[in-house]
């Protein structure tokens, strides 16, 4: 089932903000081998999805199967990156964790929170979806599975990430900033 796309008007200001961010390289964004990566440039014309995770956030963990399923379903049209914004996490620890959760997605570290700022995300797990023109079309929760810490529905009833990928493919914007994710604050590890 797909949620309704919300108004495009509401996100006008957001689009402008993001446009100005596109040109800048994202400072300090590296892969687990320390190589500088620019995920928007590296995406070769696909929609880009950044998934923000904290290794010590149980909600991030519980979402792993859903994140992998969605990334597989859209592998032709969307390039997913896992982004760990906690600068105290070592590449080794992140690699081990991603492997335990069975991830096969590229992993980035964002110790300076350049991608966090570009994406406007606040919580892990949250996602940011960019269209082919590197325009931010959505940031926020993956779906409505969690209602609050310690309280989850039997299954999600809305699917914001998938809706956003559809919208990005059509060049539309889905402004859902008012629906933040449930999980752990990124600002707690600044």
């Amino acid at each position: 089932m797909s949620a309704k796309f919300l108004s495009r008007l509401a996100s006008l200001a957001l689009v402008l903000t993001v446009s100005s961010g596109i040109a800048r390289a994202q400072q300090g964004v590296v892969d687990l081998d320390g190589r500088v990566v620019s995920p928007l440039e590296a995406s070769s014309g696909k929609v880009v999805v950044l998934v923000f995770l904290r290794r010590d956030c149980p909600v991030s963990g519980r979402y792993a199967p859903a994140i992998q399923e969605i990334s597989k379903r859209y592998s032709d049209s969307a390039q997913f990156f896992l982004v760990y914004p906690d600068k105290s996490e070592t590449p080794q620890a992140i690699r081990k964790s991603a492997s335990e959760y069975g991830y096969h997605l590229p992993v980035l570290r964002d110790p300076e929170h350049a991608l966090v700022k570009l994406s406007h995300v606040q919580i892990t797990p949250e996602v940011a979806v960019f269209d082919r023109n590197h325009r931010l079309v959505y940031d926020g929760r993956i779906d409505d599975w969690y209602i609050d810490i310690g309280r989850a529905r039997p299954a999600p009833t809305t699917h914001e990430l998938e809706d956003a990928i559809h919208a990005a493919q059509l060049g539309e914007t889905v402004a859902r900033n008012e629906i933040r994710g449930v999980g752990c604050y990124i600002s707690d590890v600044e």
Partner: protein
């Protein structure tokens, strides 16, 4: 010469409902409580550490249930805003009941002042402060909290928990390797990796009835609610429960739990997938005492599942049950239970003078944080006190935990998508008259009568009342109740067997044979029914067929001394003395104190030597 036959089997179904909650407020607005008007700079070391050490650290440390440690400034700083959120919403620490006059042990509730202090500290930038202000770090006992247990039981096979999917309810069976009756003063449940076990509950299975549900020995079995059958009046007495943060404790003096040779402990667990594959292998530590029990608490269950038929979309569906105590009791602990539609859970007592006492009130029920609540002091409830439950269910779209989307009609039942309305009370009879017999029987009989009146069409209510009447020797009344139970479920093996046993005890072997035949037809491997059928045939003088029934019992239960003794008696009646002698001897091999075999063997020796 007549050879006495012993024991008529009879049954008592005890329904044990066990399952899982979280306090739940709507996701809070990111607005912190008001800071004091002239805000003093709060610091972790001075103002926050005492709260964290006291109320968070016992679970938020390595090896415990919480997902991350909260043992020092850096741990807490990494989750500071989150902590402010979840304490304000009272999602953490997990504690569901509203404050009330009757206090619970190990209460995990923060005061409003503590919650405000955390919020202000975060608003002010979550600073560390002066290490000299830091209180001593909390000390925790590593490993078993009560020291090395006298006996450790470990699940023979670990359970693999898949990375995703809905919550899993799994039952592990722990045979207790003891050769004689032992008394247990404390139980510590170690549920395996505590991060993935939401709660666990031990049920005492004295008859091995749960083993029949395993596909192979040690495999365990799934299911949220389990039922244990019991052959004698031996009511459950203890609420053996683990949830994150549970601190094991010693039973009060004289209230040890009895474990017999052959008893199984069933660990009913609620498991939550973590996102990656996990392996769960629980263990149970038992602490014995040489002191036999002198006080006998029992578990009373109020319930009204029959009234649970909740229309789709109904926001306020109310279910009640009211039971009046026939004797004085001390209420020791309380355990409310509903599934995902449960919203407002209330239990109260109306004393004989009309005064009302809240026993527990959970305004935002959450199955994931369900718990047994023990009172700091026993609560005296005198004869004539009415204990009431009043549960409100929300089957609308507004209930995010609703298992059906869109909402659907929900009835009472054992699956997690069904609903439940249960309230367990651990009570200790007091001020009772020993001459009137076991006070627990009075309680159980009153409860059984109450259930029959409440739901005249409830099979289990009639069955349990019948079993209770039979235990008290009120055979005519027992027969009538069993007959009602059989009318309600003509193919139920246990009810037919119970009726047969009651008829036999009442000296009516001929009508007993018909229902015992029905019991065996319903469940061909039902040893008790074969046994009772054998007794009935013996009483009618049909020794040939009686012997066949006892042989059927022995095929199912090779070490049944009573069946051996009765087989011997039937053979002796047919004057097949040498064969009879072998079976009497075998009975005594199994149980040197089997009274009939002893007596009959002596009688047989005289007969044989006279020949």
């Amino acid at each position: 010469m007549s050879f006495p036959c012993s024991r008529t089997g009879w049954g008592l179904i005890v329904l044990a409902a066990i399952c899982p909650i979280a306090p739940v407020l709507a996701r809070p607005n990111p607005r912190y409580a008001q800071a004091p008007s002239s805000p003093q700079q709060l610091t972790f070391d001075r103002d926050i550490a005492p709260i964290v050490f006291h109320s968070c650290a016992s679970c938020h440390r390595p090896g415990e249930a919480a997902p991350f440690p909260l043992l020092n400034y850096s741990d807490v700083k990494r989750h500071a805003r989150q902590i402010a959120d979840v304490t304000r919403s009272r999602a953490m620490p997990p504690w569901l009941p509203d404050p009330q006059e009757l206090k619970f042990a190990d209460e995990l509730r923060l005061t409003d002042a503590e919650i405000n202090r955390i919020a202000t500290w975060v608003e002010q930038g979550a600073v560390e402060g002066n290490p000299a202000d830091l209180p001593p770090a909390p000390k925790f006992v590593e490993g078993w909290r009560l020291g090395q247990p006298d006996l450790i039981l470990t699940a023979s096979k670990p359970l693999s928990l898949p990375p995703q999917g809905t919550d899993t309810y799994w039952n592990f069976i722990f045979p207790v390797p003891i050769q004689e009756t032992r008394w247990v003063k404390a139980v510590e449940i170690r549920p395996g990796d505590k991060r993935y076990v939401h709660h666990a509950n031990i049920l005492v299975d004295r008859e091995g009835s749960s083993r029949k549900r395993e596909t192979e020995p040690g495999a365990g079995f799934g299911g949220m609610e389990i039922r244990i059958e019991s052959q004698v009046f031996d009511p459950d007495s203890h609420l053996l429960f683990w949830k994150p943060g549970t601190i094991p404790y010693e039973e009060p003096d004289g209230m040890a739990l009895r474990l017999d040779k052959g008893t199984d402990l069933i660990l009913n667990t609620h498991l939550q997938p973590s996102g990656k594959p996990e392996v769960i292998q629980p263990s149970i530590g038992l602490y014995f005492t040489p002191h036999v029990a002198t006080k006998f608490p029992m578990l009373l269950q109020l319930e009204n599942d029959a009234k649970l038929d909740i229309p789709a979309g109904e926001k306020n569906f109310v279910v009640t049950d009211d039971f009046t105590l026939p004797i004085d009791v001390d209420l020791m602990a309380i355990y409310p239970h509903a599934h995902y539609l449960g919203k407002d859970i209330l239990a109260f007592a109306t004393l004989p003078d009309g005064a009302k006492k809240t026993l527990i009130h959970i305004p935002q029920w959450n199955l994931n944080w369900q718990a047994v609540y023990r009172y700091t002091e026993p609560v005296r409830l005198t004869k004539g006190t009415t204990v009431s439950l009043r549960y409100v269910y929300d089957n609308s779209e507004d209930n995010p935990l609703n298992p059906n989307h869109p909402p659907a009609r929900v009835k009472g039942g054992n699956r997690s998508s069904d609903e439940m309305c249960h309230l367990w009370l651990q009570v200790l009879p007091v001020n009772f008259d020993v001459a009137r017999g076991d006070p627990r029987m009075q309680l159980q009989e009153a409860l059984a009568r109450h259930n029959v009146e409440k739901n005249p069409g409830d099979f289990e209510a009639h069955y349990n009342l019948a079993a209770m009447l039979q235990a008290k020797g009120k055979l005519e009344a027992a027969v009538a109740e069993y007959e009602t139970a059989v009318r309600l479920r003509p193919d139920d093996a246990a009810a037919n067997n119970g009726l047969g046993a009651a008829l036999l005890a009442d000296g009516q072997p001929r009508p007993a044979t018909a229902v015992l035949r029905a019991a065996i037809e319903a469940r061909p491997d039902y040893a008790e029914a074969h046994y009772n059928f054998g007794i009935a045939l013996t009483q009618m003088g049909d020794m040939e067929n009686a012997a066949e029934q006892f042989r059927a019992v022995l095929k199912l239960q090779p070490n049944d001394a009573n069946a051996e003794a009765n087989l011997g008696a039937a053979l002796a009646e047919m004057q097949r003395y040498p064969e009879a002698k072998l079976h009497f001897e075998r009975a005594l091999e199994i149980n040197p104190n089997q009274p009939d075999a002893k007596e009959n063997l002596e009688a047989l020796r005289k007969v044989m030597s006279a020949q």
